[in-house]
């Protein structure tokens, strides 16, 4: 057996420590070792985006990141988006606007939208389409996804204003 390497990774705010094979992909670590199966595998070549997670605040395709590269870092997955029963505004937007059908691309899509809205709270339709260009959806034709992100952007802006007041 290959020598294993110890990794410490904070996932959705919870610290994990494991011994892993150096070649273990982050997506396999999240799904098979930690048991967070919300992020999916759709192509294993970082094109479809189903495996998108946030690594230290940046969206990455976790099918082409090694677990050891995430050692000491922070990861956010779809399972960390809702606060208890309360959905994140992006999740709410996808539900409200029918932004998903089979749901397989959805977790990755939501994380890419999350990165966009962190960087640009008031995106245009074109900016939204550009931001999710690395996430393939075969069901929706993307239009309801764009609506969902717009819904979320509005809701998050309202929330931000509410918090300031």
């Amino acid at each position: 057996m290959r020598p294993k390497k110890k990794v410490s990774i904070r996932i959705n705010g919870v610290p994990y420590v494991h011994e892993v094979e150096p070649r273990l992909l982050l997506i396999h670590y999240l799904r098979d070792v930690v048991g967070l199966t919300g992020s999916h595998i759709g192509c294993e070549t970082s094109i479809c985006g189903a495996c998108t997670v946030m690594l230290n605040g940046a969206a990455v395709k976790s099918c082409t990141v090694l677990t050891v590269q995430a050692d000491g870092e922070e990861v956010l997955t779809i399972e960390g988006m809702a606060q208890g029963e309360e959905l994140h505004p992006i999740q709410e937007g996808f539900w409200e606007c029918h932004g998903l059908q089979c749901g397989y691309c959805t977790p990755g899509m939501i994380l890419s939208a999350y990165q966009l809205l962190q960087r640009q709270p008031e995106p245009t339709e074109e900016e939204i389409r550009h931001a999710i260009d690395g996430n393939l959806c075969r069901c929706t034709g993307y239009q309801h996804i764009v609506d969902a992100v717009q819904y979320a952007a509005k809701k998050m802006r309202q929330k931000a204003v509410g918090n300031k007041q």
């Binding site: 199966t37 996808f94 539900w95 029918h98 998903l100 089979c102 749901g103 397989y104 260009d133 034709g141």
Partner: protein, 777 residues
């Protein structure tokens, strides 16, 4: 609280909370203790004899539990099934792993079973195979030519089947014509690319003699029957579960080698086994769609009246038949009349074996090809005769009073108003103004194109053996459990079926649970495909709910001591006519039905009913799609400027879901027109084996789609619903191609084969520039 009418309302989906939170369970998310992982070695050759296969090193690899080859298991697992076809059908034996020769790139050769995925994949590299390459034929027309290599030596040539249909007097039509318009059309091969690749998990429990197979499938019940035959197990010892399924589009309407293989391995090893398809495997070894090349001739009068149509087509089958391979190309012939009155139609179909993956049902399945043929031809006729394409269409439409409209191909279109949908679309898109803009812009060297497609499609499979099952059960507490044999995988019937039942029984949506996709929970079923889940499955559920209501009425009458005829039902409550206070709710009736103490004599206890609905005819949704493009002749680039779709799927249960189906369908149809193509070279090598090479539409590629509807209910079922799963895909492709060809009119372009890559367009524009001396040189 009064219950509002739910059918027709934009109800958001009940499926979604688990999906947006990442809590749903697709096959690979199901984690059984002690599971082994399977990896499959696939052939790198399109056609070769396996001269030796050495697996010892793989067997000795750490973590490997077993390695199996085709020759070893040939007698243990029956060949893959196929359905449909006529008496000319040739069915080569199709084993789950190749036995002595491989027939396409991706053909399974051996399987490794190991303790984890990584070990299984590592061990694949240790299997030594010697192949003796054989001559390859990857082009369907060449496969039929004399002297072609023959793929299956049981027969003298590569003909998989033939069919011929001649209706009306074609010779007379061609003789009477003012013009014969001809076109050769290529419907390229497409890969369905569900974002969740296929996956199978199988577990055998010897103590209970039970095999359970979780598969990412659209047809759990059919799969159960076929698996029992392939594995020689009694059918009642096999259970199939379609858990959350991440898209199908027809690609999971099948029985695949891996499903049989995993069932066998679970039995043999007595441990759970899992196989998850990689994307490369998905493009190599999951069915492809389309794959037809046809020559079409249309006989027309000067005024645009179509007199006759002839279509000679070669269908590219691939190396073997999958489940419905022989059933798909005939749909094209059946639907060739499109939404027009064509008095004579002749179809000659030859299906050819090639050294490629099988073709089978991909969203639309034979109908997009028919629509593309007739809609391209109608535009071509308009062009040749110098008539507006709108006029040619209107000229040949059957009028609303002519429905049910009988086509010469033998169908009876249930209901329709084609001109209404066309007019609505023309108005929405601003057709007259667009034509003026086009003229104005052309004079400035800008090339606008307007493309129409007026389609009709065939949905709701049956009749004849394609029923669906539904059961409605009111629990003692008044909650309702609905069982359906349909197997949705993104379409949202946990919501729309609940809407149907909620309205019928006058109860809240939240009191209803819809269960599907488990053969142990739902006693029988056919599955989800052919836009049938609502138009057939939904009706079964509706009929079961009606029966429940009738039984409830009888119980209510008994308890209220009234005549059943004197009861009125409203908001979930039966009351005596004129005495609204004297009533009993459906929940109270459910409790009484279970307690069984106050029931009418001889009435069985419980409040549940089932139905097995088989429609009397197909349904025929229709509509008009209009695409507006601008083509840049300097780059060959196409800008999608506007897209309008007016669809008629009969009565709408949930407009939100219908919009979603249309959007997704259009995206796939656009994908065929502009980007997608499975390419094999002359050696049968797959050149588009990844999503880097096979281009799917991305968010930034698509314009905002403008949707509208007309609503012409079908008389075929009591809800008036027609089905909507494939309409977008069927309607959109010709609209896009017609638009681009229209834009390039000044360049003398009359046709371009799909996908309309910028390179092809650029070359055509260049050729014209050179020919006319207007070039830059």
């Amino acid at each position: 609280m009064p219950i509002s009418k739910l059918v027709g309302a934009r109800v958001k989906r009940r499926e979604d909370p688990r999906l947006v939170c990442g809590l749903a369970h697709y096959v690979d998310d199901i984690d059984l203790p002690n599971t082994l992982h399977v990896a499959i070695l696939r052939s790198p050759y399109a056609h070769a004899r396996i001269s030796s296969l050495e697996t010892d090193a793989a067997r000795q690899h750490p973590g490997v539990v077993a390695v199996v080859t085709g020759a070893e298991i040939k007698d243990q697992i029956g060949p893959l099934p196929t359905s449909g076809g006529n008496e000319t059908l040739r069915v080569p034996k199709h084993y789950v792993l190749a036995v002595d020769k491989v027939c396409y790139v991706g053909d399974g050769v051996a399987a490794v079973v190991a303790e984890d995925r990584y070990a299984a994949r590592d061990a694949l590299d240790l299997i030594r195979v010697e192949y003796e390459p054989l001559p390859v034929v990857s082009d369907a027309e060449k496969a039929l030519a004399p002297g072609s290599p023959v793929i299956h030596s049981e027969w003298p040539d590569n003909v998989a089947f033939r069919s011929e249909q001649k209706e009306g007097n074609l010779a007379k039509a061609f003789k009477a014509a003012d013009k014969i318009v001809r076109l050769r059309l290529v419907h390229q091969r497409l890969a369905p690319i569900a974002i969740e690749p296929r996956g199978v998990l199988a577990r055998y429990r010897a103590a209970e003699k039970g095999l359970t197979v979780w598969s990412s499938t659209q047809i759990p019940h059919m799969l159960k029957s076929h698996l029992s035959q392939m594995l020689k197990l009694p059918e009642n010892e096999v259970r199939v579960i379609a858990p959350e399924v991440g898209g199908g589009f027809g690609s999971k309407l099948n029985v695949y080698a891996e499903e049989g293989l995993l069932g066998y391995l679970a039995l043999r090893l007595n441990r759970p086994v899992k196989w998850i398809e990689g994307r490369r495997e998905n493009i190599q070894a999951t069915i492809h769609g389309r794959g037809q090349v046809g020559e079409v001739e249309v006989a027309v009068k000067k005024d645009g009246t179509i007199l006759g149509l002839q279509y000679k087509v070669v269908a590219d089958i691939g190396a073997y038949h999958q489940l419905f391979t022989p059933a798909i190309p005939p749909f094209t012939g059946l639907m060739l009349s499109g939404c027009y009155k064509i008095p004579a139609i002749s179809i000659e179909l030859t299906a050819a074996f090639t050294n490629k993956m099988s073709t089978d049902a991909y969203r639309g399945a034979g109908r997009p090809e028919a629509t593309y043929v007739i809609e391209r031809m109608v535009d071509r006729v308009a062009r040749e005769l110098g008539i507006d394409p709108v006029k040619v269409r209107k000229k040949n439409f059957p009028k609303p009073a002519e429905f049910p409209f009988k086509t010469v191909t033998g169908l009876a279109y249930d209901s329709g108003n084609y001109e209404l949908a066309l007019n609505k679309a023309l108005k929405l898109v601003g057709y007259e103004k667009l034509r003026r803009d086009q003229k104005r812009l052309r004079s400035r060297g800008r090339y606008l194109g307007i493309g129409l497609s007026t389609y009709v499609e065939i949905c709701a499979m049956g009749p004849k053996g394609m029923w669906e099952y539904g059961k409605v059960q009111v629990e003692p507490t008044g909650k309702v459990t609905v069982l359906s044999g349909a197997s949705p995988h993104g379409q949202g019937q946990k919501t729309s079926f609940a809407q149907i039942v909620a309205d019928e029984l006058g109860i809240g949506l939240d009191d209803i649970t819809v269960i599907h996709g488990d053969t142990a929970a739902v006693p029988k079923g056919i599955g989800t495909f052919g836009s049938r889940a609502t138009a057939v499955g939904g009706i079964a559920v509706y009929q079961a709910a009606e029966k429940v209501k009738e039984k409830a009425r009888a119980i209510a009458a008994h308890i209220l001591e009234a005549d059943p005829e004197d009861l009125v039902f409203s908001d979930g409550k039966f009351s005596v006519k004129g005495v609204p206070k004297k009533g009993i709710t459906i929940q109270q009736i459910a409790l009484e039905a279970h307690a069984a103490k106050k029931l009418p004599k001889k009435m069985a206890p419980g409040l549940a009913a089932e139905s097995q609905f088989e429609p009397s005819n197909f349904t025929f949704p229709f509509g008009t799609h209009i695409c507006v493009v601008e083509v840049d002749p300097k780059s060959g680039g196409i800008e999608l400027k506007k897209y309008v779709a007016v669809d008629d799927c009969g009565k709408v249960i949930n407009p939100l879901l219908v919009d979603g189906q249309i959007h997704g369908g259009i995206a796939q149809g656009l994908g065929q027109a502009l980007y997608e193509e499975v390419v094999y070279d002359e050696n049968g090598q797959l050149l588009t084996g990844s999503l880097m090479d096979y281009a799917l539409p991305k968010a930034g590629d698509l314009p905002r789609l403008e949707l509208a509807r007309t609503e012409t209910p079908t008389p075929v079922n009591p809800l008036g619903v027609k089905g909507v799963g494939e309409a977008g895909t069927i309607g959109s492709t010709p609209a896009v191609v017609n638009a681009v060809v229209d834009a390039l009119f000044p360049f003398g372009v009359t046709h371009i084969d799909m996908p309309l890559k910028p390179e092809k367009i650029w070359r055509l524009c260049q050729a014209k520039e050179v020919a006319s001396g207007e070039g830059r040189r």
